[in-house]
Symmetry: C2
Subunit: 444 residues, 2 copies
């Protein structure tokens, strides 16, 4: 499909247009050449950010931007409790896990208590990519299969292994010969009620095709809100049918909680939890330590034991005292400030206001969210075609109004609203005003 | 070879012996079960560390240990300049690289200035594993080959891809079908003068074997002090012959500088630099930001451009302001405190004192070092057999004297001395006293 964009190739600055920037930015863009062509900035007029607090960031002139994009700083930019924990631990000790240290034990116990009882082991890595890379190896080891099934626009990370299971990377990235693809669970197209049976049937088809070509099914690797597919949380419960089908076929369910985990959906601490089933492996990352590199793979002990009996695994920086102190402090804030409740309440308010706006803007074809992760489809009201170009223009207009937001989906026509979890009612108002003004300015 | 141990399976605590520990440690060991069986502690009596400064760490009772093992905290545990940089930046901003930020530009320029002129691009990752994973993909993309050659006991990381090129992991870890193996450059066996020609000839043999089985040679991936092979820095210059042979065969030379980089060898900022040749890709990690997860892949622009033209690569935490602030501060300390000079001077003093000790202890069969990375071979004076059991005992005796050191090599008979770069003359004295006393106690 030639119109298909990739999630890594949408909202971006084109360095060949640098002459239109002011001298300071032009100079920074020139210096960024040292990072290679892969380092893409957001926006036609890239944003320089020097400071952040809560859901706001500030440029070098002191202008404030509303951050409706960044999910890593889940408890807010530079939350003082997290900053204090990082500073205190960095001054005390930061070393690897071959020595005894309380922090990793305390944190692990707290986190395991938030997971289903069967998920009773946790191992640490530094990035979501490393967690998913390890999870696939663990699943393959346990099942004896190699086949991993993901969705059509999935992104699971950047290592050699997980890149092969991340179709949304696109361009010259080849998929693994052991990769099976499910369609995007497009509730806008198929409806909320039908989606569970539809996806379970598609999974069974893919498993059969995979096994017919001699690849044994090892597991399903899924982000339960289908972020890079275009944000399709669906109604709580539907995904259980798919998980049951994976289990019935002898495969594991790997829940990639890098995006939906840690209160994001408002309904539950984990994304899979909305759907009432127990995965076999849970990977997590981004918001875990509010920006300090920290990720983890949580897993049933029998599955992990089978792996560690064969393969020694060590990760130098993983689980170090500073990462664990930052992760503990992040969890404190989530609990103390009831950020799950905030995500639920503010997310519901956001969706309700978007629905109000949709009445006057028929190009808003679908609104779907879970907590503070919301997708808004823009389709041509006459033809139903995805409004890819217009949605990208919308992002740029929002940026001029100093609201940072983005787009996603295979056609780039989905507005992606993914705020820090501390987003307030006033923040929603500011976002909605900028969105309404931008739609008007674009005549949409 | 049945006697072969693995680097990940030597100095370790056996949890089944926990009953011999005091109640506090027994409890911590029990709680560590949550991390799975893969989390191995050092020592029969594991060390709990709560605080560190310079080349010393402290347990919960306030006892100080001399750290002659940890190379991540290269500028010393909790160096105040690094701690201050982390704390300051964590309070200001910590986000990804899609916005403009000065810190990554300043640091990249400083670091590229320390690399050969041809290496003119730098991309960031979070771990050495991620850097090597990416480097292999970049080399394969550029050469069109898949074959990677490493040494017999190499360790290059823990992702699925690099695990297949890390024979030292051992146990059930399979090598990649695209992996070629060079022998350890054992200067103790082959002599310093012969080693360059010997290894170059072995490389040519391996390339021929690889290509005979239809695998095109993509590159040589080498740690220039051969850390996990048993520390074989050799005389400056010998490795150029091997690099030249790799280039003559159309492959790239990937310098894994995770261990030898950042002043470690005392002779130069980078390990490969001792040998007077220019690699094509340079990977780095561990000591880069003194413990904050930070790694990088530096590469020639034509090689990187060929990759980024095909594959979008993004790494959420990589190059974030806190990691870059920590890395910049670490580099400040290396320069301001002349840690390269310190590594050279203290390393030479260390080797000289070890040579003095060897006169009275014929079991010391070889001493070799570059800066503050020193290996000492223990062989049975009568038979020449590696003294694997005795070297492990020695490590345990040193630990009882509160000196943290380790062993390595395929038989575990090599004492591994790899101190923070701030190690002092007094620290060497303490180490040597503990070593002499331990040898005496063991009757060696």
């Amino acid at each position: 499909m030639s119109a298909k964009t990739t999630i890594l190739d949408m909202n971006r600055f084109d360095p060949s247009t640098a002459s239109s920037l002011d001298e300071h930015k032009r100079d920074m863009v020139r210096r960024r050449a040292a990072l290679g062509n892969g380092y893409r900035l957001f926006y036609r007029d890239p944003v320089e950010i020097v400071r952040g607090t809560g859901s706001h960031v500030f440029d070098e002139q002191g202008n404030d931007y509303l951050d409706a994009y960044n999910n890593v700083v889940s408890v807010g930019h530079c939350h003082p409790h997290v900053v204090e924990a990082i500073s205190r631990q960095a001054a005390l000790l930061n070393t690897h896990t071959r020595y005894l240290h309380e922090t990793i034990l305390d944190y692990s116990e707290r986190l395991l208590a938030k997971l289903p009882e069967d998920i009773d082991r946790i191992t640490y890595q530094c990035t979501g990519s490393e967690a998913n890379d390890l999870a696939i190896r663990i699943a393959r080891n346990y099942t004896g299969g190699r086949g991993i099934i993901v969705t059509n626009e999935a992104y699971h990370g950047n290592t050699d292994l997980v890149s092969g299971f991340s179709p949304s990377i696109g361009m010259g990235q080849e998929l693994s010969p052991d990769c099976g693809l499910l369609p995007t669970p497009d509730t806008h197209l198929h409806g909320d009620e039908a989606i569970g049976d539809y996806m379970a049937a598609k999974l069974n088809e893919q498993i059969a095709l995979m096994e017919a070509r001699g690849v044994k099914f090892a597991g399903l690797l899924v982000d339960s809100i289908f972020s890079s597919d275009g944000i399709f949380p669906g109604k709580p419960g539907w995904l259980k049918k798919v998980a049951d089908a994976a289990h019935a076929a002898g495969g594991l369910y790997i829940a990639d909680e890098v995006q939906p985990g840690f209160c994001r959906t408002g309904d539950a601490f984990w994304g899979f939890e909305r759907h009432g089933f127990v995965p076999d492996i849970v990977t997590m990352g981004k918001p875990m330590a509010n920006g300090i590199a920290c990720s983890a793979t949580a897993v049933r002990h029998d599955i992990l034991d089978a792996f560690t009996a064969r393969i020694p695994y060590f990760n130098t920086f993983a689980g170090n005292p500073v990462a664990m102190a930052a992760a503990s402090a992040t969890l404190d804030v989530m609990e103390n400030e009831d950020l799950m409740g905030n995500a639920r309440r503010i997310g519901a308010m956001f969706v309700s206001q978007l629905e109000g706006l949709a009445v006057e803007h028929p190009c808003i074809a679908d609104i779907r969210g879970a907590g503070l992760y919301i997708g808004v489809d823009f389709d041509d009201p006459a033809t139903g075609d995805p409004m890819s170009v217009e949605t990208l223009e919308l992002i740029e207009h929002m940026r001029r109004r100093r609201v940072l937001t983005s787009n996603c989906g295979s056609f780039g026509n989905i507005l992606k609203i993914r705020t820090p979890l501390v987003f307030s009612a006033a923040d929603v108002d500011r976002y909605m005003t900028a969105l309404a003004d931008s739609l008007d300015a674009l005549g949409l």
